[in-house]
Amino acid sequence: MRLIPSTIGMATAAVLLSASASAHHGWGGNSEAFEIVGTVVANVDLSGPHATMQVRDADGQVWDITLAPAPRTARAQLRADTLAIGDQVTLTGMRNDDANRFEMKTRRVSHQGTNYDVYPPN
């Protein structure tokens, strides 16, 4: 049947179309090592595909912080009640390659002398 090759072709095209995409499943779109020193504006949220939080840096820029998946983040002892809004934190990870997106995939959250390593630090 000639229909089979054309069907497989259409399906393959749909998958290949997305070869350049990147986000929470990879670090492809976050390649520059980065550090943020700032204050917590939205606390650790362990509900989605990845844990998240938000931090405001010294320039007033609010950053979306992507942590590990929730169970892994919680296992690193970083939970919803670990930090308080307004606490100073230092974060290290890889910032988003898009200069207009203030998002960082974060390896380490340092808070009051404790390091929470949600991924192994580089």
Partner: protein, 161 residues
């Protein structure tokens, strides 16, 4: 679109799931994958049969296990998918793969409706189908496979955007 996503995220479902522990999303994801694999595996077998493979297996025999399994798989995938989306729906606003996936699912479901009205499908167990009827079913099988494969591919890529 954004209004719909905001409403879903703000719904009691979204609120409840976000508050229900660190493993919730992982289990929803597991349910989604189980549903998808059941659906797509069934669809693949039936569609390839409609496209002309395994002609020694009567169509009615092939549709007997694959159709109910596809329904179960779709139901599981749809239920878990709505739950997953409700956890952080607004984050997917503007995600192009979502805009490929949902029309593809719509096309797949529309195809199901169309096929269910075709006499050659309804009478597949009772009589021998003509060459033209087999061809029409093959086209439906091709549309189905393209639609569900597109939904599968675009769905997987949502998280990579």
């Amino acid at each position: 679109m954004l209004e719909l996503l905001s409403w879903l995220e703000g719904s009691a479902l979204g609120e409840g799931l976000r508050a229900s522990g660190v493993w919730t999303y992982g289990f929803l994801n597991l349910g989604h994958i189980a549903g998808i694999s059941t659906l797509f595996g069934s669809v693949l077998m039936l569609d390839l049969r409609l496209l002309g493979l395994w002609r020694s297996v009567p169509l009615a025999m092939m549709s007997r296990p694959t159709v109910p399994l596809a329904v179960i798989g779709f139901s599981l995938a749809a239920a878990s998918g709505v739950c997953m989306l409700s956890v952080n729906a607004t984050e997917y606003y503007g995600n192009p793969f979502l805009l490929i996936k949902f029309p593809a699912i719509g096309l797949g479901l529309l195809n199901v409706v169309v096929v269910s009205f075709l006499p050659e499908w309804k009478e597949r167990a009772e009589r021998e189908l003509s060459r033209l009827e087999r061809k029409r079913l093959a086209i439906a099988g091709g549309v189905s496979l393209a639609a569900w494969a597109t939904a599968l591919g675009a769905g997987r890529m949502i998280g990579y955007w």
